[in-house]
Amino acid sequence: MKWDEFFVTGDPLIYGADVSIGLTVIGLLFYLTYFKKWQWLWKEWLTTVDHKKLGIMYIASAVLMLFRGGVDALLMRAQLAVPDAKFLDAQHYNEIFTTHGTIMIIFMAMPFLIGLINVVIPLQIGARDVAFPYLNAVSFWTFFIGAMLFNISFVIGGSPSAGWTAYMPLAGNELSPGPGQNYYLLGLQISGIGTLLTGINFLVTILKMRAPGMTLFRMPMFTWSALITMVIIVFAFPILTVALALMTFDRLFGAHFFTLQGAGMDMLWANLFWLWGHPEVYIVILPAFGMFSEIISTFARKVLFGYKAMVWAMVLIAAYSFLVWVHHFFTMGTGAAVNTAFSISTMLIGIPTGIKIFNWLFTMYKGKISFTTPMLWALGFIVNFVVGGVTGVMLAMAAADYQYHNTYFLVSHFHYVLIAGTVFGCFAGLVFWYPKMFGYKLNERIGKWVFWLFMIGFNVCFFPQYFLGLDGMPRRVYTYSAASGWGDLNMVSTVGAFVMGIGFLALVYNIYYSFRYSERENTGDSWGLGRTLEWATTSAVPPHYNFAVTPTVEGLDPVVAIRNDKKDVTPKLADIKPIHMPDNSGVPFVMASFFFVAGFGLVFEWYWMGIVGLIGVFITLIIRSFDKNEGYYVSVDEIKETERITV
């Protein structure tokens, strides 16, 4: 391999990226060294097993990935703004929509939600941490390393360009040569390990570590949504693991699962991919549903309407999620009977989803609604998500889908569900729980600007795309002719996309502004309206052990009961006992680094490097197995000091 094949060359945009990456790295190294922050970085972050810190790192990575995926999106919209544009060529455009899709789903939406779950769920169920804190660190670092491996593809070796669905035989060696597609396979595989471990970890945490008195049907809705999501993860992610492994065998070791030669079968890939892919969509929507339930109930100052129906609706959605995958390829010619069955099963999902929408509406009915920023996101969600929902039902009608399939109608639909659902949810959750993470709120005035810019930009961007689809514009084309008549709506759409971009910048500015100027919180219940246990901690940012004394729960919304009954919740000295906590460990970070070495080696088919990396991974596993990892005890004195108990 020559050097000019190793580093991507020839494109000014990429040289620009090279320079900015280089400068950022130098800047970071300088900052860490000059301010002597290396030890702080290692002790406080790289080796931490604290669920709150890991959650913050998840969210920070997700915001970074949102930036990367967003830049991809703006490049695409710039290219499509006018007919016959020459800004990007076909290959470059193909790479960009591939990385946009993959990054947004796998490295933005999921980690953002998993990050919020990490921060909130143990607090919400009154636990000290997750069931397996060490494993939680392994989850984060494998996700992060997988994401980084995928991301360096655009400067080293070249990005994948077969779409985030990576249909075979297109993604095979014959039609997509080079390391690009290998990056996709290994980046997703490594981060997939982390996701599966998160699934197991939180299932055990939620099932086994709830505070005394918190029965299943007293769990907050966000905890319910996390529990159900984790079940989906545990059963869906192994399918992705296998599918990716099989394609890796095809590309690296000459197997014939999906290839053109050797009697492979490309349709098998499409089936396996969507057998994981459809549940994946619900993995990124259900936690958002859970957060909206919390936020709407909180700011409408009212008990969630139809709690049990909300739970069962989510259980049904999770079950259906495994039974609808064929609707992603009604046009494959599988026959009328199959299409009929999957049309109906898909439409059935509309029923529990509809139930949830009406329950949210009626949670506000006879309430007392405050229009805070998290609530605005939740209201925006209801209004916009139903548009995505009803067009989803339209797409479920197979006979009509033959006309929508592969068009901008579909593109618009899934952005309406994923942005109005998942992204609005992430932003709502971020703003809502921001004081829990950092001890101060994001500025509300700027926050509302962010909301309106983003929400309006979003509609201007995607609403016209329904009509582009009905006018026959296929997705994934890098340009179109003036004669097609698609120019005007595309220009409108591009303008909307840039307005969303401005909204994102406003969010980043808000993070900076609030860091500088926001008033610091000094109570555990920052909004003054909290309902669930995370608002029952004694300080704005909970100490590493979360609760000095494990709370007991007597019903739904325990914090409302505390507030209404004016109960004194400051921990009594007599109740304070030494708390057992797990030790920090650098092994997860080191293990993930070995995964990077192995993954990078396999991407370029340097097998010696792959083997070295895997041996490293095994050594870290053995070290962990022999580690007695007994943890340590937080002394009563330390707790007294942290909780400012003077008596």
């Binding site: 290959q91 014959e174 049990k308 009328a336 006879k366 009608m397 006979a399 006309q403 026959g472």
Partner: protein, 316 residues
């Protein structure tokens, strides 16, 4: 407070205006044959229901958000403990079930209808045309007429065309939006798509399933002509057009775009792509075309595969 919610309201209004108003401007809603017409009917039927659902949700939303805002005067109707209503919950479970049934019935009927030739011309025997996708062109074979075209297809008006779809390499989707919905064309497989043009005219067809660099330009023309013009064209082609040589056909198997071509013979004597998945890949190997990393130096210099006889096939 109401002011703040105006955008939501405007959005709802926009939805209904767009959906119910300017239908005929959009290709899919202005079909030129019975298949597309059936799909249009189904689409409009569903849009009706969807508009109704949106209307109900938006009205409820607006009323609730305005009426129960925090800074209202009369707070006596604040019931923080109200936790549900069996009646209401049954209502909004039952209505979606009814809507699902109402949508399912015509959907299923149309799904089954589209698997057969359209009823309108059931008395005429369909004309069979094989459409083969190759990166990034379409090859049309008329087995009965014994002729073949590239990147355009002539069809008789008012008669069902039975397209037999297959692919020589990547998974493609055969779509003529003005005539009706699409179906995949896959290597080693054959799928069937019935379409029909009611009148004479020229329609745009394309591959709509992403398959790499030349995807955007993998398009073809559909010419609907009268039956007599069609017969005359088929006969002329059989007698006057050049014969398709194997060498020429193998050049077509290389990745790249192609101009329109017409031949008096078909490729079926060498290969049936519906039964043979790897003909194109093996041909490329035989002709010494090695797949190149798009970022590799070789790909950047000159990735012109051996020049083909018709001199049109090119890759970037």
């Amino acid at each position: 407070m109401f002011k703040r919610l105006k955008p939501f309201f405007a959005l709802g209004l926009m939805l209904s205006v767009f959906f119910l108003g300017g239908c005929s401007n959009y290709i899919v809603l202005d079909p030129k044959g019975p298949v597309g017409a059936q799909q249009k009917d189904l689409i409009l039927y569903s849009i009706g229901f969807m508009a109704l659902i949106l209307l109900v949700v938006y009205i409820l939303f607006t009323v609730i958000v305005v009426k129960y805002r925090e800074n209202r005067k009369d707070m006596s109707n604040w019931e923080p403990e109200q936790e549900g209503s069996k009646k209401l919950e049954i209502l909004w479970t039952a209505i979606p079930i009814l809507i699902t049934i109402a949508l399912s019935i015509p959907t299923i009927k149309t799904i089954y209808d589209l698997e057969k030739p359209p009823q309108a011309s059931a008395h005429k025997e369909p004309i069979v045309i094989t459409a083969t996708a190759v990166d990034w062109k379409w090859i049309f074979t008329y087995p009965k007429q014994g002729i073949e075209t590239v990147n355009y297809v002539n069809i008789p008006e008012d008669r069902t065309v039975e397209f037999k779809l297959t692919s020589a390499d990547s998974m493609s989707s055969f779509w003529i939006p003005e005539l009706g919905g699409q179906k995949y064309a896959m290597p080693g497989m054959e799928t069937t798509l019935y379409l029909q043009a009611d009148h004479k005219g020229k329609f745009a067809g394309r591959n709509s399933n992403f398959n790499g660099e030349g995807f955007t330009h993998q398009i073809f023309d559909v010419n609907s002509v009268s039956q007599s013009d069609f017969d005359k064209w088929a006969k002329d082609t059989k007698t006057k057009a050049p014969e398709l040589t194997k060498k020429q056909y193998d050049q077509l198997m290389l990745q790249g775009e192609a101009k329109k071509m017409t031949f008096s013979s078909t490729h079926l004597k060498w290969v049936d792509h519906a039964k043979n998945r790897d003909y194109a890949v093996k041909t490329r190997e035989r002709l010494g075309v090695v797949p190149q990393n798009p970022h590799g130096s070789k790909a950047k210099d000159a990735n012109n595969p051996e020049q083909d006889s018709h001199g049109e096939s090119h890759s970037h």
